[in-house]
């Protein structure tokens, strides 16, 4: 594919993404304004109703005291009573007691204005209770909602851009490049065997046009071949062949046009489809990132200390995924279709089961099964495959889907329909993808004999450890505990930075320094399991950490299976490190930072040793 083609694809994909983002965003904004018109008056009425109840009750209390004969100025403990009421009712900002002349007798704040509730005894106005309603909660909620709608639009726009880019590159531009190559070949005298393009679309029509143009030449060549056959038939002594060859030599290339290429089984196409199917599965799987840890915390388990509640599911998932993936690599070629299908089916059913699970132990088991299902699927789809040798876009798309699209969509779904429904939806999607996997022509997908199959990569394990500790445990248990979208967005901030770092291939010391700096920044920002809301420093820390971790991942140096196994092991270790740090009252990321350092250095030593042996 030529550079202008690639640039054109990127621009068109970006425009399509923008169109979809604007459409979804504008649609959401219109629906929000409509909903505000419908719902806010009712909400305001409810708040007003509550204020009325409280104001009236307080006025009644004052009236009762006056009825007992206590003078207004001699009421004891009114200020404490008012303070208790204000602190206990969030819809009230302040209370004041004023006499009929307007003089303030007691007040919880200065210059209290608002609703007045008269205190009347014996038909005479004795005082007024002034109640100042708190600023409505609507502003904050609507602001948060706008952010969620914007995130929906951006993420779906990104997904649309990726889909469009994929189709343009793999179909339109690849077809254009093939047609150009064929036409230039013919103009240089290289005549291809005729292929009969099948399907529909502009590319197929253009290739058919190419075939149509070759038809007259084919007719001429067939005529020539008939004549040649006749001559050869009467050439009993071979004397004619000697005369024939000089005549045929100048048109030898053109004679190939009557040969028809064999039935084309699109091997790279199917291998590529399997890769993209795995990306889709990982993306759906990643939708659970904002929920798993906080879902586990809410289930509670008396058999293990509190510190381990959020991390155990990820540890179980990581270990199960590694074991299942290792086992699945030994499966014979013919068993792959069913392995991928059952892997996705198991993962999907485990996700869906979370809808009904209330027990921690069962949830833990379901996550282990989900991890095992993912491990089997990834092994079946990727075994022996080099990470980016055939599809340079694949690792980038994988990071984008795993760390950006999946978590944000999961966070949005969690906010929209709740965690349990989000688990159920993701489960159904995984099962649907399982059935899609049956459409791949599996006998054409094989491990390549030359594929490097190192089982371990330290730097990737380090990246996994950082991701496991921060994105999978700390963020969903802290700022994302009750704000799934915040969790998804924070993970996406790191994921976007990692995706940017991936093609830049920064040197490993730079990546390591960035990862450690990111963790330090996150610790400084107060990221912990008890931090309620993320701040700008947390987001920046996530981005720096993501850039460092993304730089440590070198997909061109490993197979997909190595990538999966190493990061899986790192995730399990990283998740566990947060719990160990909690048990020893250490800063949450202290052990994770050490892990990242040690794993990266160990990985570098291993790489140097391997290079030395190879040399």
């Amino acid at each position: 594919m030529s550079l202008p083609d690639a640039r054109r694809d990127l621009i068109i994909a970006a425009i399509v993404g923008l169109i979809l983002a604007i459409s979804v965003g504008a649609g959401g904004a219109l629906m929000l304004s409509s909903a505000e018109r419908e719902a806010l008056p009712e909400l305001s009425a409810k708040v007003r109703e509550g204020s009325d109840t409280v104001g009236q009750a307080v006025a009644d209390q004052i009236r009762m005291a006056l009825d007992y004969g206590i003078p207004l100025e001699g009421l004891y403990g009114v200020d404490t009573y008012f303070a208790n009421v204000v602190s206990g009712v969030p819809t009230i900002d302040a209370l004041a007691l004023v006499d009929p002349d307007g003089d303030v007798l007691t007040s919880t704040a200065e210059n209290v204005t608002g609703l007045a509730f008269p205190v009347i005894t014996g038909g005479k106005l004795m005082a007024n209770v002034i109640l100042a309603p708190a600023p409505p909660l609507f502003g904050h909620t609507v602001g948060k909602l706008r952010l969620a709608l914007a995130a929906t639009a951006v993420v779906l726009g990104l997904v649309a851009a990726c889909i469009t880019l994929l189709v343009l590159r793999r179909n339109v531009s690849a077809g254009r490049a093939r047609l150009r190559h064929l036409m230039l070949g013919v103009s240089r005298g290289v005549f291809p065997a005729r292929t009969l393009p099948s399907g529909r679309g502009a590319t197929v029509v253009a290739l058919s046009g190419f075939d149509y143009r070759l038809a007259p030449l084919e007719a001429s060549v067939r005529c020539l071949e008939d004549e040649v056959a006749t001559v050869r038939a009467i050439d009993f002594d071979g004397s004619l062949s000697e005369k024939l060859d000089p005549i045929l030599e100048p048109v030898a290339a053109a004679r190939g046009v009557v040969e028809t290429a064999g039935a084309s089984v699109d091997r790279p196409g199917h291998r590529s489809f399997a890769g993209w199917l795995a990306v889709a599965a990982l993306s759906v799987y990643a939708m659970s990132i904002p929920f798993v840890s906080n879902f586990a915390i809410d289930r509670q388990w008396e058999y293990v200390p509190v510190d381990w509640w959020p991390s155990l599911p990820w540890i179980a998932e990581g270990i199960a995924a590694i074991m299942a993936s290792t086992l699945a690599r030994t499966l014979p070629q013919q068993a792959r279709p069913m392995a991928a299908f059952f892997g996705l089916l198991a993962a999907g059913l485990s996700f869906a089961a979370a809808y009904a699970l209330r027990d921690y132990g069962l949830f833990l088991a379901s996550r282990a099964v989900a991890g095992a299902g993912l491990g089997v699927t990834v092994s079946a789809l990727f075994s022996g495959r080099s990470a980016d040798s055939r599809e340079p876009l694949l690792p980038v798309m994988m990071l984008l889907s795993l760390l950006v699209a999946g978590p944000v969509l999961g966070g949005l779904l969690g906010e929209a329909i709740g965690r349990r429904m989000a688990f159920l939806s993701a489960g159904i999607l995984l099962i649907a993808l399982g059935f899609t996997s049956l459409t791949v022509r599996w006998n054409t997908i094989g491990g390549h004999a030359g594929a490097t199959a190192h089982g371990w990569n330290g730097a990737m394990a380090a990246a996994g450890a950082a991701f496991g500790a921060v994105s999978l445990v700390l963020v969903p248990s802290g700022p994302g505990y009750e704000n799934y979208l915040a969790a998804g967005l924070l993970v996406a901030a790191g994921g976007a930075a990692a995706t940017l770092a991936l093609p830049l291939h920064p040197r490993w010391p730079v990546s390591l320094a960035a990862a450690l700096a990111g963790m330090a920044l996150l610790s400084w920002s107060g990221l912990s399991m008890s931090e309620p809301m993320p701040g700008a420093a947390t987001a920046l820390g996530m981005a720096v950490l993501g850039w460092g971790a993304g730089g440590l991942v070198r997909p061109h140096r490993a197979t997909m299976t190595t990538l999966f196994l190493s990061t899986g092991a790192g995730i399990a270790a990283g998740a566990g490190s947060v719990s160990i740090a909690g048990a020893f009252a250490l800063p949450p990321l202290a052990i994770a930072a050490c892990l990242v350092l040690v794993l990266t250095l160990a990985g570098q030593v291993a790489v140097r040793r391997t290079t030395a042996v190879a040399a």
């Binding site: 979809l20 909903a35 909400l43 709608l149 029509v205 253009a206 007259p216 020539l224 001559v231 005549i247």
Partner: protein, 263 residues
């Protein structure tokens, strides 16, 4: 179905999903806001009821002896339409006072006891069920020991008027418009992306003359011009070769006749 049509269909579905997701987000957030507003209103009532019961407990009365509590919870229930039920139960979960008098003496559900067990350090606990929200508070004696619980059952999110229902027509219009806009514009973008392919296809099929101003070096059109010229040239060469071969054949036939005739 061509890849472009399939992609446009996928993008349309994605738009529909996006707008639906937006509506669900809005519905959930505003419903939650409504429940929070109601809960805020209930806070005061709950605190007043608890204070009243605890005042009686401070006087040395046991929970079953505070008969005024039944009157208090019934008045609270009548005073607020959002309250579906009010109940006071002892630490073992047996209902002592209840606005549904038939339920007095029965045990509360296990979900309530679980919510009490899992509450944080505060006295307040909360439980969301399918269409109700239960907000409860612990009743303590002067020594801080729990002597029972007060629970108020409120209409939950599903009890609301249903925002989705109220804005359904607008949603249908917005979703249809969004899908249409995305489908049309993405079709236009694919049209632009494949313009050169379609043009060269027309040229190859002879529906348009070859070349033209678009046939700049490096373009498909230029490659098509070069290819067609090469094909025409090759056809001439092949036809010439065929004629020569035919001539060989004829020469051979003449030679054969010459050999046979003398015989």
């Amino acid at each position: 179905m061509s890849p472009a049509v399939r992609t446009i269909f996928a993008l349309s579905v994605l738009t529909l999903v996006g707008i639906t997701l937006s509506v669900l987000l809005i519905n959930e957030a505003l419903d939650r806001l409504r429940v929070r507003a109601v809960e805020s209103n209930i806070d005061f009532i709950l605190t007043e009821l608890r204070d009243s019961v605890e005042a009686s407990v401070s006087l040395g009365l046991l929970l079953p002896e505070i008969h005024v509590a039944q009157d208090l919870i019934e008045r609270a229930r009548l005073g607020n339409q959002e309250i579906l039920a009010v109940e006071i139960f002892d630490p073992s979960g047996v209902s002592v006072y209840n606005t549904d008098r038939g339920s007095i003496g029965e045990r509360v559900t296990d979900d309530w006891l679980e919510a009490i067990r899992l509450r944080d350090d505060s006295r307040r606990w909360r439980l969301e069920q399918l269409d109700t929200v239960v907000v409860g508070e612990e009743i303590r004696n002067d020594f801080g020991e729990p002597v029972g619980h007060l629970a108020v059952t409120l209409a939950g999110a599903a009890h609301g008027d249903g925002l989705v229902g109220a804005v359904a027509t607008r949603f249908a219009v917005v979703a249809a418009a969004g899908v249409l806009i995305v489908a049309l514009l993405s079709a236009l973008m694919f049209h632009i992306a494949t313009r050169d392919l379609r043009m060269v296809a027309r040229q190859l099929y002879g529906q348009e003359p070859l070349g033209g101003p678009s046939a700049e070096p490096g373009t498909l059109a230029a490659a098509a011009v070069a290819m067609c010229a090469a094909i025409d040239e090759t056809i001439v060469e092949v036809d010439l070769a065929a004629e020569k071969v035919r001539a060989l054949d004829q020469d051979e036939e003449i030679a054969a006749e010459d050999v046979h005739e003398p015989a």
